[in-house]
């Protein structure tokens, strides 16, 4: 039997769909880590990106910093955080937040930059305050790119949240790490397939959301 068909039978085994080690629980944990990470990263990166995009300040710095953050190996960062904070939820969350910030920041400031300057000037000319310009003109027009940033961050975090299992947390990474430890390749492949499907489903949701929230419907 090939590894692929073994993985399929691993997936269809009812025992693997219940309990703490079962797929529903692991998927819930995985989505939980992803949601937590993207929420924190969004709270940091989107306001910052909007400020950079609106004012045009520090853009060069933002480009350089996000480039540098992208180059950080997440697993290395995780180990560093563990040495600092010990094991627990904090180290992988920090490592994943660092991973999620660059696309979010880029989406936010690039989104605002993509707004036609004439439109912004027109908004100011009819007497809108800066907050009104941002809230009523720039953000709605930039929404597809901001959402694109979130979409990209979610995808990267879903794919990388497997590292939480490296230091004993749950999530879908458990199947990869535990499978590797005892050379149970069907289990690893089954886990990978679930991660791929989860990523595709989430990406599909964002594709729909992006279309719905686009101003030019």
């Amino acid at each position: 039997m090939s590894v692929f068909s073994q993985a399929m039978s691993w997936l269809s085994d009812g025992a693997h769909w219940q309990g703490d080690d079962g797929f529903p629980h692991r998927i819930a944990q995985h989505v939980g880590y992803t949601a937590l990470t993207v929420a924190i990263a969004t709270a940091i990166a989107v306001p910052l990106g909007l400020w950079i995009g609106h004012t045009g300040r520090l853009r060069g710095l933002a480009v350089a910093v996000t480039g540098a953050l992208r180059a950080l190996p997440t697993l290395g960062l995780l180990t560093l955080m563990v040495l600092w904070r010990g094991i627990g939820l904090t180290p992988p969350t920090i490592a994943l937040v660092v991973l999620a910030i660059p696309p979010l920041l880029a989406g936010a400031y690039a989104g605002l930059e993509s707004v036609d300057r004439a439109t912004v000037d027109a908004a100011r000319a009819i007497g809108m305050t800066e907050w009104q310009v941002l809230g009523r003109v720039e953000i709605p027009l930039a929404m597809p790119l901001i959402l694109g940033g979130i979409r990209s961050a979610v995808l990267q975090v879903v794919a990388t949240a497997t590292i939480a299992a490296y230091i004993g947390l749950g999530g879908l990474g458990r199947y990869l790490i535990d499978g590797l430890a005892v050379r149970d390749y069907p289990q690893m492949l089954a886990g990978s397939l679930v991660i791929v499907v989860l990523a595709l489903v989430l990406d599909g949701c964002f594709a729909v959301l992006q279309r719905v929230l686009s101003p030019q419907r």
Binding site: V82, G86, I87, Y166, I167, G168, I177, D178, A181, V182
Partner: protein
């Protein structure tokens, strides 16, 4: 496209040939001298002072390299022509090199060597492992006297935790409720891991945290920060002494013995070699391995040969 592919194939084949030649050359010269050595030693079998040159191999980790250096330099001190061929990699590769005669001696570990030749072996006590190992070895190879030194999985606790619960052995963990353990993920299912702790020592309700760094910094941090009570760390890891951890003894032999043992080609074995290596093994303890590893990992990153020379000198063997 076709031409390019053909060229690539030719290039790959050429590379393979070159590599084979590279791998083959030392093998040929070595086995050439081996045959002469073999005939010499078989004619004077058992006699001391046979001059068959001995090539000591090692795997690709510092401890194995320093052990190979210790063997080689101890033999040299007795006037035997010995050299080293370090960094051979995995067991598949160096057992092959021993069989074809390109190396003749290797510092091995009893338990892992037994599992290599007999994958379903269940022996764990040192003597049982040794007996089974001797039976499982191929005809051309033999093992000498094992050292007390062992490099294997070991259960460690902090000095504070040990004092608080009066711990010296794994059996003492039994009374502690809600015990938490960290180690590689396979510990959850392997016989020497959580199932064995339950079955052999009757420790139930263990909360297991899988940390995939083989007892490295993250596992250590989990233990020293008090996130877990017990951690599986290899018994010769310098962090054990550096952090004053207490390694729990294993009276029931839950973890298979991994004594350091010289694995040698029979045609290179003689009384002088035996005496020399037995004297080394007699001095080699797990504490020696810890000290050697600590030195090798030290800030000055000394060469394995220098560390080996110093150890032999300190123990009056060279």
């Amino acid at each position: 496209m076709k031409v390019a592919r053909l060229a690539a194939t030719v290039a790959a084949a050429g590379l393979a040939l070159t590599l084979a030649a590279c791998g083959g050359n030392p093998t040929n010269t070595a086995s050439g001298s081996d045959t002469s050595g073999a005939s010499a030693s078989s004619s004077g079998s058992g006699g001391s002072g046979s001059t068959a040159p001995i090539v000591v191999g090692s795997a690709s980790f510092p401890e194995s390299e320093v052990l190979a250096e210790i063997y080689a330099q101890a033999l040299q001190a007795k006037g035997i022509d010995a050299s080293t061929h370090l960094d051979i990699g995995q067991r598949e590769a160096y057992i092959g090199a021993l069989k074809d005669g390109s190396i003749s001696l290797f510092p091995e570990y009893t338990g892992n060597l037994l599992t290599y030749f007999q994958p379903n072996a269940t022996q764990t006590a040192p003597d049982d492992v040794l007996t089974a190992l001797k039976a499982a070895l191929p005809d051309t190879l033999t093992v000498l006297t094992p050292a007390a030194a062992e490099d294997k999985d070991s259960y460690n606790v902090t000095a504070d935790f040990a004092a608080k619960h009066h711990l010296t052995s794994i059996a003492d963990l039994k009374g502690i409720s809600g015990l938490s353990l960290a180690g590689n993920p396979e510990l959850k299912t392997r016989s020497y891991g959580v199932p064995g702790l339950q079955k052999v020592y009757g420790i139930s309700g263990i909360k297991f945290t899988a940390i995939s760094d083989s007892g490295g910094p993250a596992t250590l941090k989990a233990l020293t920060s008090g996130k877990v009570d017990v951690a599986d760390i290899y018994s010769t890891t310098p962090s054990i002494t550096q952090n004053h951890l207490v390694t729990l003894t294993d009276p029931q032999h839950l973890i298979a013995a991994q004594n350091v043992i010289p694995l040698i080609r029979k045609d290179h074995d003689n009384a002088t070699v035996d005496q020399t290596l037995d004297a080394v093994s007699a001095k080699l303890t797990t504490q020696s391995l810890l000290d050697l590893n600590a030195k090798l990992n030290g800030p000055s990153k000394p060469k394995a040969s220098d560390v080996a020379a110093q150890w032999l000198k300190d123990n009056g063997l060279a």
